[in-house]
Amino acid sequence: MIFNSIEFALFLPLVFLLYWFVFKNRIQQNILLLIASYVFYGWWDWRFLLLIFFSSFLDFMLSKKIGESTRKSTRKLLLVSSLFFNLGVLFYFKYCNFFIDSFVNSFTFFGNEITSNHIDIILPVGISFYTFQTLSYTIDVYRGRLSPTKDVISFFAFVSFFPQLVAGPIERATNLLPQFLKERNFQRKLANSGVKLIIWGLFKKIVVADNTGILVDLVYDNFETQNQVALILGAVLFSFQIYCDFSGYSDIAIGTARLFGFNLMTNFSFPYFSRDIAEFWRRWHISLSTWFRDYLYIPLGGSKEFKVRNVFIVFLVSGFWHGANWTFILWGLVHALLFIPLFITGNYLKNKYAKNKELIGVRFFASTIITFTMVTLAWVFFRAENITQAFTYIEHLFVNNLSDNILFSSNKYILILLISIFSILVLLFIEASFYKKNKTEVALNSKGLLFLILMITFLGAFKNHSEFIYFQF
């Protein structure tokens, strides 16, 4: 079930009404959320439920044992078992074919012929997200930062919580699980802000991401024959497509959770107003970057030893987390290369404490544009089908004698381009006004929301809508 579907439009009010009016105590509400989440997830393919059930059960039991055990070696063994099983499942479903292909290709490169068979696997939706979420629980229990819960229903509901199950934010057990363990009362202010975020998220997804997506697909499908203007537009539009697609999902997820009295962490905080790559990573997919900081970077030694190596590893793993393709690894590598100079010189903290309103001006504008350009070029690796395509695309961006521009080839595409540009300007205008006030999220008043609803209705790409990009991860 996806957020921008008729099914979800019926599902959400139904669960909301049952949650607050029928099931009034915490245990009943948790059972309802668990059932609703399994229905939500099983809507794709009921077989996926077995996997999430297995993953939840395993981490619940192993963490319980970790909590009970006093021997360090036993605790470590239990943690390693959890890591082995969770990452093993992730590896099997997501990366198995990639490694088979890479292995075969490397042998072919050295002159040996190997035949291989692909394993016919369907990638379960959102597997990378909930695997990381359950892992965070077990690791935190091992580290003693969290006591293992005895409430199996709450734990299962925490792992499968439908608003953020398939595309995050990747919640920490330390933040989300305690919310399942305490009584929840309806908070009007929280629910109001939730509705506002849902509408804002729908605008980002249906108007910006889905319209730009049509044009991006056109350009990337025909990039070898397109002129520089088309390629630049394709790259810039993809920057907004990926941002609005993913952050739109996060906004709807956070907003939906608030309707049920839950507070999820902020996942995006106006990333395209970043003044350098370091700031970009403090504002982009915050739940993932902080996850890697806490569970990978710090265990590797953090800033104490081999810090450059550690940063490098984090970026590579982050790229690989996104998908089983060399393009994602290269995307991570590009970001590592952009980030490490700032890291070495210590400049990565420069913009951290600066007040947003103090930096509006020519300097701010120039550094923002430069950062956006670097991020946009890196997105080419992320969007391309393979590395060759990515490099050819970038080469054609700079050296190009072609005259075709598919975006101007029909009235329909010109219209979609105009809608895309207009909606991006609206997006930037609204975000800039909240950014200047040092807010972390957009919260429009009723007039603003009505304007967004009009835009969604009359400018939304309903006929050519696409799935959320991050579902594939």
Binding site: K412, L415, L449, T457, F458, L459, G460, F462, K463
Partner: protein
């Protein structure tokens, strides 16, 4: 909680009202324009106009017979009401639209595509949204209700909530409606006579051998169209437009006159693609039709 739900309902109601008002205004503008064929028919011609013939069909009907040439040579009055990317159900809907708006025609020339010779799956066609400005008319609403599938029937429910169809087809309906505010006579790729032609000089690059096929027309919808024509004192004629290097031998058991011009244009230079003639091919095909009628 109560306050939250009441506020939510209040603003939802305001939003639904607002978007319906905009959608209604948008459809009204389209209804009063000439942008799409259904509106063009109603607004371009006087009510009770008596045509000597009308042409129905999909893209092959739209681009083959030049009604301007036919009218000039035969001193007749005709109009091309074909809509691209449509099928027999839409042609029937167009005919109902024609009669319901008090127009008359002596002959109804239906350009029948090969895919429509036999009974096929009946579904909403890609360009049926062009009838949406007339969704309050029973024959349009009945058509949409009958053939539209899915939980939310966007077109048929638009009778009560016009925003449903308009938002789904916003690029095709909402934006053209804005254009029609400034230019009511703007049309979507067809001329004063309802015709469209593929660009001059566009040629098919092919060298196939002539193929002869024996076919039969058995589609019950053709019989329904025949009945509808008879009821309104019109004569139905089936027209088989040129197909590159294809000769059709048609078994005619349905009692409808057939103009079989499948092989009337021969050279690939006169085709835009295998099933559409270009400007030169159109002239040849039109001349063949004029000769046939003479």
């Amino acid at each position: 909680m109560r306050e939250f739900i009441l506020k939510l309902l209040k603003y939802s109601l305001i939003a639904v009202l607002l978007i319906n008002v905009v959608a209604f205004a948008s459809l009204f503008c389209l209804r009063k324009s000439e942008f799409y064929k259904p509106s063009y028919l109603v607004n371009h011609f006087e009510e009770n106009t008596k045509f000597d013939y009308i042409i129905l069909g999909s893209s092959r009907g739209l681009t083959t017979i030049n009604t301007k040439q036919v009218d000039k040579d035969l001193e007749t009055r005709g109009v091309n009401l074909s809509i691209d990317d449509t099928g027999l159900p839409t042609h029937k809907l167009m005919l109902e639209h024609f009669y319901n708006n008090n127009f008359e025609a002596k002959k109804v020339i239906l350009t029948l595509d090969r895919g429509s010779f036999k009974k096929g799956e009946i579904k909403i066609n890609d360009n049926d949204y062009r009838f949406l400005p007339f969704i309050t008319n029973d024959y349009v609403h009945d058509y949409c209700s009958k053939y539209e599938k899915g939980v939310i029937k966007k077109l048929s429910y638009s009778k009560y909530f016009p925003f449903l169809g308009l938002s789904f087809y916003n690029a095709e309906l909402f934006f053209p409606s804005i254009i029609t505010i400034f230019n009511k006579e703007k049309r979507n790729r067809f001329d004063d006579y309802g015709n469209y032609q593929y660009p001059a000089g566009s040629k098919l690059n092919s060298n196939n051998k002539l193929v002869t096929d024996e076919v039969e027309i058995t589609n019950p919808m053709v019989i329904e169209l025949k009945r509808l024509c008879k009821k309104n004192n019109s004569e139905l004629i089936l027209y088989i437009a040129p197909i590159y290097k294809t000769k059709l031998i048609i078994k005619n058991d349905i009692g409808v006159e057939i103009i079989n011009h499948a092989n009337s244009v021969e050279s690939s230079d006169n085709f835009y693609d295998h099933i559409h003639v270009n400007q030169e091919g159109r002239e040849i095909a039109t001349k063949a039709v004029i000769d046939y009628i003479k």
